[in-house]
C-alpha cells in the first residue's frame, strides 16, 4: 500500500474541499429556491467519500444512496453537470430527470444513486457479478448508512457476496442517525461490522474524520476484493452536520453533540495535518480557493442552464 506524497494528499484535500463547497452551494441555492426537491447533504462526510473513492480505479463501480453528491464528486463526476442535474436542468447528467437522489454518471463509474434505503446494495452485487463473469477485475462499492443496516436486503447481500466471493466493498457510513432517530432506536447492535462478521466477511471500523485512516482501510479492502478474496466491510464513523434533509432543523440533535463533532470535521482536521507536516499555508489555502472557484462556476452554469423540454417527461421510458 503506497503512502501518499504531499501532492497526493493535496489532491485529496482539494477533492474534499470540492465536496464541501458543492454542498454548501447547493444549500444556498436551495434556500434561494433555485434548487427544489428532496435534498440530502453530505457535509461532514468528505473524509469517507474521498477516503474510499480515491482508492478506486476509474472503472471501478460506485453505487450511492439518497445522500450521495459527495460520493459522485469523489468518484470524479463533473461538478457542472452534477449541479445542473440537482437543479433539474437539461444539461444535467440525467437531463434533469433523476435529480439529487438518482444521480447517474456511469462514465466515471458512479453507476447510480437511489432513494430506496439499502436498495443500492443488491445493485452493487450485480456489478460485482459482472466483474467476475467477465474477469475485468473491477471492484464494486456500495455506500449506505446505519439506517440501512437493519434492512433485510443488506443481510441477504452479505450472505450472497460471501458465498460467491464477489468483489464488493460494503461501506456503511454510520452517522448515528437514521432520518430523525438515533441508531439505538433501530437496533440493539452497536457495531454494524457485527453484521458482516456473521458471514466471515472481514470488517473494520474507521474514523470518518480522518481521511487517511479511511484511505488506508479502503486500499486494503480494494486490494483484497480485486484479488478475488471476497467481499469486505468498512464501517466509517461520520457525522451529519446538517439535518436529514434540507429544511430539517434537526431539533433532535443535542447541541453539545454538534459542538463535539464540529471539532472532528474531516476537512479541518486534514488541513491541520498538512499544516503540521510543513506544507505551506498558501498551498493549503489554494486547495480551498480552487474548489470554491470550480463550484462558483458550476452554480453559474446550473442556474443559467435551461430546463428539459416537456417531451422529456415521456422519453427514455424504454431503451430503443
Amino acid at each position: 500500500m503506497t503512502e501518499l506524497d504531499v501532492a497526493g494528499r493535496l489532491a485529496l484535500l482539494e477533492r474534499m474541499w470540492l465536496i464541501r463547497a458543492f454542498e454548501e452551494k447547493v444549500s444556498e441555492l436551495f434556500a434561494r429556491g433555485q434548487v427544489v426537491g428532496l435534498i440530502h447533504l453530505g457535509i461532514g462526510s468528505e473524509g469517507s467519500a474521498v477516503g474510499i473513492c480515491s482508492a478506486l480505479r476509474d472503472d471501478d463501480y460506485v453505487f450511492g444512496n439518497h445522500r450521495s453528491h459527495a460520493h459522485a464528486i469523489a468518484k470524479g463526476a463533473d461538478v457542472d453537470r452534477l449541479m445542473a442535474e440537482i437543479a433539474g436542468k437539461a444539461a444535467g447528467y440525467c437531463k434533469g430527470k433523476g435529480g439529487s437522489m438518482h444521480i447517474s454518471a456511469p462514465e466515471v463509474g458512479f453507476v447510480t444513486a437511489t432513494g430506496v434505503v439499502g436498495g443500492n446494495i443488491a445493485l452493487a452485487l450485480g456489478a460485482a457479478l459482472t466483474s467476475v463473469t467477465t474477469g475485468d477485475t473491477r471492484v464494486s462499492v456500495a455506500f449506505f448508512g446505519d439506517g440501512a443496516g437493519q434492512s433485510g436486503g443488506l443481510h441477504e447481500s452479505l450472505n450472497l457476496a460471501a458465498l460467491w466471493k464477489l468483489p464488493v466493498v460494503f461501506v456503511c457510513e454510520n452517522n448515528g442517525y437514521a432520518e430523525f432517530s438515533p441508531l439505538s432506536a433501530h437496533t440493539v447492535v452497536e457495531r454494524l461490522t457485527d453484521y458482516a462478521s456473521v458471514y466471515s466477511i472481514p470488517a473494520v471500523t474507521v474514523d470518518g474524520g480522518d481521511v487517511m485512516e479511511v484511505r488506508r482501510a479502503a486500499d486494503h479492502a480494494v486490494a483484497r476484493t480485486r484479488a478475488g478474496e471476497g467481499p469486505m466491510f468498512i464501517e466509517v464513523l461520520t457525522h451529519r452536520l446538517r439535518g436529514h434533509y434540507e429544511g430539517d432543523p434537526a431539533a433532535y440533535r443535542e447541541l453539545s453533540e454538534r459542538e463535539e463533532w464540529t471539532t472532528r470535521d474531516p476537512v479541518a482536521r486534514f488541513r491541520a495535518e498538512l499544516d503540521e507536516a510543513g506544507v505551506a499555508a498558501d498551498t493549503i489555502a489554494a486547495t480551498e480557493a480552487a474548489a470554491r472557484a470550480s463550484i462558483a462556476g458550476a452554480a453559474e452554469f446550473a442556474v443559467a442552464a435551461s430546463g428539459p423540454g416537456l417531451d422529456e417527461a415521456t422519453t427514455d421510458v424504454y431503451a430503443l
Binding site: Y61, F63, G92, Y93, C94, K95, G96, K97, G98, H102, S104, A105, P106, V111, T112, T114, V116, G119, I121, A122, L123, A124, L125, G126, A127, A128, L129, T130, S131, V132, T133, T134, S140, G152, G153, E156, S157, N159, L160, L163, W164, T315, D316, V317, Y318, A319
Partner: protein, 326 residues
C-alpha cells in the same frame, strides 16, 4: 421437418441458444443448476459452467437487485422467480430500479434484464402458488411483459426477451409446460391471429388462448365465427391488430385467467371502446377470474378458474346483444 418440443423444453432451448450466442447471458435463481422445480434449466450449468448458471439462496429481493445491477454493467441476466406469487418479495428492486433506471438516468443506463416467472392455476397448489399478476407489471412504466401460449413462441419470445435491452417479465403458465408444438422462426413482435373469424373477436394470452380456441370451435358449431387473437406481448400491446379485427367483427371479448377487476382486460376493453366505438355492435365483454384468492380444494379451484364455458357464454351473449326486434 420442424422440430417439435414440449413448452418446458422450448424454454430450455431458448435459454440454451441465448447462453450459447452471448457470453453476457447468465442464468440465476433458486435451484437452477438442479433444473428448477420443472426442469427448465436442467443441464445448463454443466453445459455452460457454474459461473454462468448459478444457484441463489432464497433471497428474492437481493437476487432481483443483483440481476439489475449486473444488467446495468454489461451482463444480460435471466433471473428465475420460482412462482410469480413470490415476486412480491422482489417488487421493490423490479419496480423502483429495473423499471426506472433507464428513465431516471436520462437514458445513460440500460437494463437488459429478463425475469422468468411461472404462475397460474394448476394442481390445487393454493393461494400462494396460483396467482396471475401480470397487471402489476403492465401497470409499471419501463417494464415489458410477454406471455407465450405455444411452445414455438416460448422459445422465440424468450430469445427476444433476452436480446431486448429493456427489462422484460416473461410469464410462463405451468399448465402449458407439457404441451408439444413446433418451433418457428416467425416474427416475434406483436400479436398473432390464431384463428380467423368474422363475427366476434376474442383477445387473449397465455393459457387462455387455448380455452379461446376451444370456445371458437364450439361457437363455430352454432354458426358463429370467432377470431382468436393471441396477444403474446402484454407490454407493448399490439392494439393495431386488435382494432383491425374489431373493425371487422364489431364485437370483442377479452379473456384472461387473472382476476377480472383491474386486470389487463380492463385496459384493453377501454382502449377498444375509445378507438373503435363506431365499429362496435355490442359492449366489450371481459372474461376473467372472480375477485378472490385461489382456494385449494379441487372444486373450488375449478369454480374459480375461467375457461371455455365462460368465453363461449360471453361471445354468444354479444351475438344476441341489441334492441329486441319489434
Amino acid at each position: 421437418m420442424t422440430t417439435e418440443l414440449r413448452f418446458i423444453d422450448a424454454i430450455h432451448a431458448g435459454l440454451q441458444a441465448s447462453l450459447a450466442a452471448d457470453d453476457a447471458v447468465v442464468v440465476i435463481g433458486e435451484d437452477v443448476t438442479y433444473g428448477g422445480p420443472f426442469g427448465a434449466t436442467k443441464g445448463l450449468a454443466d453445459e455452460f459452467g457454474r459461473h454462468r448458471v448459478r444457484d441463489t439462496p432464497i433471497s428474492e429481493a437481493t437476487v432481483m437487485g443483483m440481476a439489475t445491477g449486473a444488467a446495468v454493467t454489461g451482463l444480460r441476466p435471466v433471473v428465475e422467480v420460482m412462482f410469480v406469487d413470490f415476486i412480491t418479495l422482489a417488487m421493490d428492486q423490479l419496480v423502483n430500479h429495473a423499471a426506472k433506471l433507464h428513465f431516471m438516468s436520462g437514458g445513460q443506463l440500460r437494463v437488459p434484464l429478463t425475469v422468468r416467472v411461472q404462475g397460474g392455476v394448476r394442481g390445487r397448489f393454493g393461494a400462494h402458488h396460483s396467482q396471475s399478476l401480470e397487471s402489476w407489471f403492465t401497470h409499471t412504466p419501463g417494464l415489458k411483459v410477454v406471455a407465450p401460449a405455444f411452445p414455438g413462441d416460448a422459445k422465440a419470445l424468450l430469445e427476444a426477451a433476452i436480446a431486448d435491452d429493456n427489462p422484460v417479465v416473461y410469464l410462463e403458465h405451468r399448465g402449458l409446460y407439457w404441451d408439444k408444438g413446433p418451433m418457428h422462426s416467425d416474427p416475434v413482435d406483436g400479436a398473432v391471429v390464431r384463428r380467423p373469424g368474422a363475427d366476434v373477436t376474442i383477445v387473449s394470452y397465455s393459457k387462455m388462448v387455448h380455452s379461446a380456441l376451444a370456445a371458437a370451435e364450439r361457437l363455430a358449431e352454432s354458426g358463429v365465427g370467432a377470431e382468436v387473437i393471441d396477444l403474446r406481448w402484454l407490454e407493448p400491446l399490439d392494439t393495431a391488430t386488435v382494432f383491425e379485427s374489431v373493425s371487422k367483427t364489431g364485437r370483442a371479448v377479452v379473456a384472461h385467467e387473472a382476476v377480472t377487476r383491474g386486470g389487463l382486460g380492463a385496459e384493453i376493453a377501454a382502449t377498444i371502446q375509445r378507438e373503435a366505438f363506431a365499429e362496435l355492435l355490442a359492449p366489450v365483454a371481459r372474461v376473467g377470474a372472480a375477485f378472490a384468492p385461489v382456494a385449494a380444494a379441487a372444486d373450488l379451484e375449478d369454480a374459480f378458474l375461467p375457461g371455455l364455458a365462460e368465453i363461449e357464454r360471453a361471445a354468444s351473449s354479444l351475438m344476441t346483444f341489441g334492441p329486441t326486434p319489434a
